[in-house]
């Protein structure tokens, strides 16, 4: 339990799409529980928020483990987004850090980044922010120890094995490598978030500034 009304389920093993699809299946099953009022899918984990503290957390944990072990993967046929990126420049200033960490040239980092197809495996942190799976391990770069204080919304970023597009302007600890004009959240639209879990994203270079 995390506090009295929340429980975190963490899947064993690596960050793979197969695992994430099982988390989505678990999310569907947990949605049907009458005691659950909110679910936060994370990256290979799931947080359950209860309307009242559960009488027996162990019983819920047992139910989750059983569901995890028996449910099939949930395949979501998501939308495909093709997103143009202005790589490098002032809005992608951590490209150098990614190069330094990976030992690759900027051109290689950029072509590896837009050479992969990504899947939205969770939405969170900021309104509409999608955690993307599919980053090539060669350009995975740990989060910065000192976050940028004023990263622009629309910055194309890398945080560890995860990729994303920043949703809000503000402090951010991920590495910026480029920028897109896309806005991923509008509270007055239905649905408010542009991406949904299971959507696929391809990046293409709109421009490169080194």
């Amino acid at each position: 339990m995390i506090g009295t009304r929340a429980m975190l389920f963490e899947a064993p093993g690596d960050f793979t799409m197969a695992h994430q699809r099982r988390v989505w299946a678990l999310m569907d099953a947990a949605q049907a529980r009458p005691d659950v009022c909110e679910l936060i899918p994370g990256v290979t984990n799931l947080m359950l928020i209860f309307s009242a503290p559960p009488d027996s957390p162990q019983a819920v944990a047992d139910w989750l483990c059983h569901a995890w072990n028996t449910l099939p993967e949930r395949h979501i046929e998501g939308k495909l987004f093709e997103i143009g990126v202005r790589y490098g420049g002032a809005l992608g200033e951590d490209l150098a850090a990614v190069c330094a960490h990976s030992g690759l040239s900027p051109q290689d980092v950029i072509s590896i980044h837009h050479g992969s197809e990504y899947t939205v495996c969770a939405i969170g942190s900021a309104p509409g922010f999608g955690y993307l799976h599919g980053l090539d391990p060669r350009i995975a770069t740990p989060r910065k120890t000192v976050p940028s204080l004023n990263m622009q919304a629309g910055t194309v970023i890398i945080g560890g094995m995860q990729a994303g597009i920043s949703a809000l302007t503000g402090p951010n600890g991920w590495n910026s490598i480029g920028f897109t004009d896309l806005r991923v959240f509008d509270p007055y639209k239905q649905p408010p978030a542009l991406f949904a879990v299971g959507d696929r994203i391809r990046f293409y270079p709109e421009s490169i500034e080194l």
């Binding site: 506090g3 975190l8 899918p41 994370g42 928020i49 942190s125 900021a126 309104p127 955690y131 408010p192």
Partner: protein
Amino acid sequence: MITILETSALNTVQDLGRPGYRNLGVGTSGAMDALALQVGNILLGNQMDDACIELQTYPFVLRFDAPATFAVTGMDAAIELDGRTILPWMVETAAAGQVLRIGPPKAGARGYICLAGGIEVPVVLGSRSTQLRGGFGGLDGRPLEAGDTLRTTGAALDVAGYGALPPAAVLDAVAGGEDAKVINLRAMPATDYTLFTPEAQQRLWDTAWRITPQSNRVGYRLSGAPLELRHRVELRSYGVIAGIVQVPPAGEPIVQLADANTVGGYPRIATVIEADLWRLAQARIGMRIRLHECSFAEGVAAMQPVNAYLDDLRMMVAHYRASARSRAGMKSGAKA
């Protein structure tokens, strides 16, 4: 309608929050001291999810443009209605044109101006709370400014002049030390507790953590001897709720609060229990907090006195209003 005459940074419209959108990355927002808002709404016969003005900085001055019944809850401060001192936690009625001035707190940190009928701002994604990061909800998604006007839905109540005992006078804090500058809170060890060294685990409970100036509605950054992990970890992002105590690489903990991100990636060492979050909301920068280890069962049991306090208040308010009406020869059941 009310008009804001004077305000400083980060005073906002808040209700009990915006649950249900965390899966889209939208945090709950809502009053930091949800208990104080609930007391205000009960005193005024409001819906529990009616919105109020949350004050974090002072002085704050507003003018009533129409008669209105109100209560100021949360902190204790010098509060004046047209120069006449009034008490916090009390129901008062203002005439049109009267000015309410709220000075800096003598005790506590956050004040809640609750109006009969609540504050009328558009409901966005199920709530009237201001989502400062997302820039929506409340009044145009931003803090209040001098000159702003806010509409209320209710008329003035027929009975006023009663109040509530402040929660701090009724609800016992966890025992611990005599120092009034130290706030004692209960916390449950969280999933990453065992990733920390035994010394760090002990230091979490032994330290009187200082609340740094980098503390706000998102979270309180605490200062003290750093907490070390057994070894470095890069966690995958996971869901965050108010009360979670995260430890960034520098080792000084952050307690996540009402405007926290919906997910995070730092190790979680503990969670402040829901029953004690209002005490944290009333803790001021520079004060110290001590965390006391508690079990899940103790955390659940700790909500009982809080709920009983609110239930008692509901009953007392209903009794008082009914008897005041019958004494005044008013028609019973004519609820405002």
